[in-house]
């Protein structure tokens, strides 16, 4: 079994998800099931096959370098969705560097 509870913990920490200790085994078992599904890929011969990152075989369009005006009324609408803000700033618990 490749998905141990340790793997779940490590991955959850990478993804910033708090998982209750009691759920770890159950989650590990479900993820293991998904991994078995995924593992079927290894049986497919892909030597010399190009990767496909995107369905469109197009190139990145470019935007003209023009700045649009911004105003405080607009900013305050954005800040309204913030759970905690003050003085025009989004607030988080103090980060110790």
């Amino acid at each position: 079994m490749s998905f141990t509870t340790d793997t779940v913990k490590r991955t959850a920490s990478l993804a910033r998800l708090a998982l209750p200790e009691a759920d770890l085994a159950h989650v590990a078992q479900q993820l293991e099931g998904i991994l078995v599904l995924i593992e079927k890929l290894s049986a497919v011969p892909t030597e010399g096959v190009e990767i496909m990152a995107h369905p469109l075989e197009l190139q990145q369009p470019l935007r003209e370098d023009r700045a649009d005006g911004r105003d405080l009324a607009g900013r305050d609408i954005y800040l309204k969705n913030a759970p905690v803000s003050a003085d025009g700033l989004f607030l988080v618990p103090k980060v110790i560097e």
Partner: protein
């Protein structure tokens, strides 16, 4: 026949002839939603007051001679599309109180075409699910049998259209999320060619797979919506420069002479026998309309689900990193420091299925696994596209079942994620390739549940799919069947 039994195109004619007004229409549908939806839960947020304002405006504009294509027609959006000033939850607790300050391009374009927005439709959380049971706002019920799921993730859209709560709706499709619920609910739904409908303002699940499309009662109605929805959008780098099309105008293209491919891979073990029977009957119908049936092979379809469950979660794990409780969205009250703020907010804000996919996605991208999973899946994706390329060199369309089973019971698969994932076994390859596909109702099981068939086309064959769908629907009446639903006093 009651007002809500008309499809979009019919209602459009009634409005144009001024036999009804937009206000009457809007009032009627709002009333129907209030009386029928409590048993279905297809809406998350109603836009009642504002819808009437829009309807009044539409009537005024018509009096002033406006000829906007969809003027006064009520629709509803899957709650994945950002609507300025109107709560957009994406089916998640994370966005329970999120009010977008801007409109998605799809919302903007449909509003410019004159539509009236009735509300926001329920969905699987962040579009991750095939049954609508992962929604934070409650599972949606299938209007044909409320013990059954409507499919997902656009389950609210499919149920609302099938239940005649709204003549048409938008959906999004990352691995089958338009087609599978359309099949389960007996409606018509198009997943367009990747790049034809802008993704701007549509909350991302897996960016290289997501595509918005119409869900309505007929191919003709879907074409009407596509006329407005499709088009190049400079705000979306993945929007195709030639995205626009004339879908309604192309509906009359004859089926005669078309080569229609049938892939035996889609009729293998695991396919419900009643579905197999009805889909084969539909293929015979297409043949009788003048199409030539040609066998094709899609050998890599069997591993499409595996590739999908690497690529979609990988992209999702990154797309959903922005939900951190800082600028918007759920923020835990149980955090003393930054790391706890992240971990608790995301744990509390996301449901179990979303967390599962974030974990899988983070895992397959992490150091040491990237090549074995992510790169491998990208290569398999290439092979899947090659399968279609080869097939479309021989045929104009490919036909098969949309789902392996009809709608299943609520809670039947919630404990076994993999069995749920396999509900999308016929729809996923289309997203990986980026080609268009259409679900058409083509029969019912003996238990009275709808059966859907899937038409797949080459890149930019969206118009062709809708034309064939239209021809099929001219010759059949499966799409006209409606579920019996009691109106309760809302």
């Amino acid at each position: 026949m009651e007002l809500h039994d008309h499809g979009l195109a019919d209602l459009r004619r009634l409005l144009q002839k001024k036999e009804i007004s937009a206000v009457e229409l809007t009032t009627h549908f709002l009333q129907r939603i209030r009386s029928v939806d409590p048993q279905l839960r297809s809406f998350i947020t109603l836009n009642g007051e504002n819808a009437l304002v829009q309807a009044h405006r539409a009537d005024r504009q018509r009096a002033d001679g406006s000829t906007q294509a969809l003027l006064g027609l009520p629709i509803a959006h899957k709650d994945i599309f950002s609507t300025r000033g109107l709560r957009t939850t994406c089916g998640s607790r994370m966005l329970e109180n999120y009010i977008p300050p801007f409109d998605a391009t799809v919302v903007e374009r449909l509003e410019q075409a004159g539509t009236v927005l009735l509300g926001k439709l329920n969905m699987d959380e962040f579009a991750m699910g095939s049954s609508n049971e992962t929604s934070h706002y409650g599972a949606v019920r299938n209007p044909w049998d409320t013990r059954m799921v409507p499919g997902g993730s656009s389950g609210g859209s499919a149920a609302a259209v099938a239940a005649r709560l709204v003549p048409a709706a938008t959906g999004t499709d990352t691995g089958g999320s338009i087609r599978q619920p359309a099949a389960f609910c007996g409606i018509t739904g198009l997943k367009p060619t990747y790049g034809r409908v802008s993704r701007y303002g549509m909350i991302a699940f897996a960016s290289s797979l997501d595509q918005a499309g119409p869900m309505a009662r007929s191919a003709e109605d879907c074409a009407l919506l596509m006329d407005a929805m499709a088009g190049h959008d400079p705000r979306d780098s993945t929007s195709h420069p030639q995205a626009a099309g004339q879908f309604s105008a192309a509906l009359d293209r004859p089926v005669r002479g078309l080569r229609i491919g049938v892939a035996e891979e889609f009729f293998a073990d695991g396919l419900d026998s009643q579905i197999a029977e009805q889909v084969r009957a539909a293929i015979a119908q297409l043949e009788s309309l003048g199409a030539r049936i040609v066998p094709v092979h899609l050998p890599h379809n069997a591993v499409a689900v595996s590739a999908y469950y690497v690529l979609a979660p990988a992209e999702a794990s990154s797309n959903l990193a922005r939900f951190d409780g800082v600028r918007y969205g759920h923020r835990s009250q149980h955090a003393d420091n930054l790391q706890e703020l992240y971990q608790q907010s995301r744990f509390e804000g996301f449901g179990a299925e979303v967390r599962r996919r974030i974990l899988i996605g983070s895992y397959v991208l992490s150091a040491g696994y990237y090549d074995a999973y992510y790169l491998k899946a990208q290569k398999v994706r290439s092979l899947i596209r090659e399968d279609f390329r080869r097939a479309f060199a021989e045929v104009d369309l490919i036909v098969g079942p949309t789902t392996p089973t009809p709608a299943f019971a609520l809670d039947a698969k919630t404990e076994d994620p993999v069995s749920m994932y396999l509900a999308d076994i016929y729809t996923i390859a289309v997203n990986l390739a980026g080609i268009p596909a259409l679900n058409l109702p083509c029969g019912f099981t003996r238990e009275g549940l709808p059966i859907g068939m899937q038409l797949m086309g080459n890149y930019f064959a969206d118009e062709l799919l809708l034309a064939v769908g239209h021809a099929y629907q001219q010759a059949t009446s499966w799409h006209l069947q409606r579920p019996d639903l009691a109106e309760v006093q809302g």
